[in-house]
Amino acid sequence: MSAVNTSSPAYRTAAAPEAAKPPKPAKPFLDTRIGRALTAIFSVTLGIAIWEVLSWRFPPLFLPSPQLTLQAVGELWADGTLLQSIGASLARIMAGWGLGLVVGIPLGIVMGYFSFVRRLLDPYVEFFRFIPPIAFVTLAVIWLGAGEASKVALIFYTTVFIVMINTIAGVLSVSELRLRAAAALGANPLQILLTVIVPSTVPYMVTGARIAMGNSFLTIVSAEIVAAQIGIGAMIWTSRNYGKTEWVFVGIITLGLLGYTCDRVVRFVVKRVLRRYAVAV
């Protein structure tokens, strides 16, 4: 194909390959973009409808209706509580999670690459990964005070082991073939670590980071319930004390939406930035 031909618009229109293709068989409606969106909307609407019907049978203290919950959103938004709570919780999650990645990924790589370091630290990893962060809430407050540090530390704790374990698994599964190829192309061990092992491990790091993000949401609520004035966990706990069940609902729904949004953001960033590392998200 010569450059002259391809750059000429006449050529393009004349040889439009679409014209020659047989028409694609039509997808079933539910598989189209619109069909899928409608399915999701239907599912959510049905859930809210069931919630509505159930709420007719119970007092609002037991099960507040969707309208009441929506009203509560309005109240909490108007006095700034909702936004402040989201901000506080999100800041703690981002700090602890980010710190967990910054520490967990390099540690995981070093542990995966140097079997001595792995054997050295393995007893601790294997021990602490079974202790849920909630068990450490009290200790965190005693050691780090009731300020931000204790909450961030708990999120860090919940993140770091998952990220480490996934990164180690990634390093251990790098194919021998790639290592040999790099060595035969003149790479020294440090270069192999940085230019072959680390890039090969990226999908595992991302998996670890996403699981850790989910766990961070679990942890933040328990941490804030015990030791925070503001934050979504604190909001849920305070609402219970005031008998405002609808505020509890607002907190729960906020958590769900926030987690979903965070995961979407991570996926979007990964797709954009880490596309070449074949991360399946």
Binding site: R180, A181, A183, A184, L185
Partner: protein
């Protein structure tokens, strides 16, 4: 030899003219299995040697040995007069699996990899990569990722990635084994052309007799494992490019085929899979 005269001084060992490969009394034992025993091999500089043998006879083990991926249990391995102590950029390896390409790098970045590891400047890397991409006919695909290429194109990329370092020895481990018949034929012609243009020493492993006849100027057959040895060394003096229908080629094919068939038969007998001298599909 179409190399420019002004190669960097530190690359003096790796101008694309070959080095000799020498194996002396080499044996390799992995666990309790002796894979090869008492191998002696002399490959002259610039030779194209095809190692031909049934699967499981230790061909790849020998290649891994020369590449420096495996140590010899006993015996000596040297390339260009120096003992092999580990992998080196001076001994390029083209693997059968295209998984050996780095999927997160573009074709050009893959080709530049060896140069980058040695700290060659970006501009010079790009220049060299372009030249070798052109040599293997991949200039148009420089910016694509390996996953976007066909099997044949990926093997071209692997070959360019090795040749750009101007190794004195190129080790090829059934590089076209996974390609379809047509693509394989094209690639064989290409490798023949590239070898004659750049003249590295090539050790080429295959179980395809025709491939060995088309490419090698020496064909070495191996006995069946375990404890495989060399069976025969056959020089091939046919003119390039080779015509597989020439009577000499056909005769060579018959001889080699009988050689290999005898070994396959022996393996099957050792394994107790056949009782008598006949192997279905491998008539004498």
């Amino acid at each position: 030899m179409n190399q420019p005269a002004n190669q960097p001084a530190d690359r003096s060992t790796a101008t694309c003219s070959g080095a000799e490969i020498r194996l002396e009394h080499v044996s390799i034992t992995l666990g309790s299995n002796q894979i090869v025993s008492g191998i002696n091999l002399d490959v002259a500089a610039g030779d194209f040697v095809c190692l031909l043998g049934p699967s499981g006879c230790g061909k790849s083990t020998l290649l891994n040995l020369v590449a420096g991926f495996l140590p010899a249990t006993s015996g000596r391995v040297s390339v260009g007069g120096r003992p092999v102590g580990g992998p080196s950029v001076d001994r390029g390896v083209v693997f059968q699996s295209t998984e050996a390409l780095f999927p997160w790098l573009t074709v050009q970045e893959n080709v530049e990899y060896g140069l980058r590891m040695r700290g060659v400047s970006r501009a010079e890397r790009a220049r060299s990569a372009q030249r070798y991409l052109e040599l293997v006919g991949l200039s148009q695909a420089a910016g694509r990722f390996p996953s976007e290429l066909s099997g044949g194109m990926r093997q071209r990329a692997q070959i360019a990635r090795v040749l750009v370092n101007e190794p004195s020895v190129v080790l090829m481990d059934e590089p076209f084994g996974a390609l379809d018949a047509q693509t394989r034929e094209v690639m064989q012609t290409e490798v023949d052309r590239i070898w004659r243009a750049t003249r590295p020493t090539i050790l080429f492993i295959t179980h395809d007799i025709w491939e060995a006849i088309l490419l090698g100027n020496k064909i070495i057959t191996m006995t069946a494992g375990p404890s495989a040895r060399f069976k025969s060394v056959v020089p091939v003096d046919l003119p390039h490019p080779r015509d597989p229908t020439a009577p000499e080629a056909v005769k060579l094919y018959r001889d080699l085929r009988e050689d290999i068939a005898a070994e396959v038969r022996r393996t099957l007998q050792v394994q107790g899979l056949v009782k008598d001298d006949t192997v279905p599909g491998v008539a004498a």
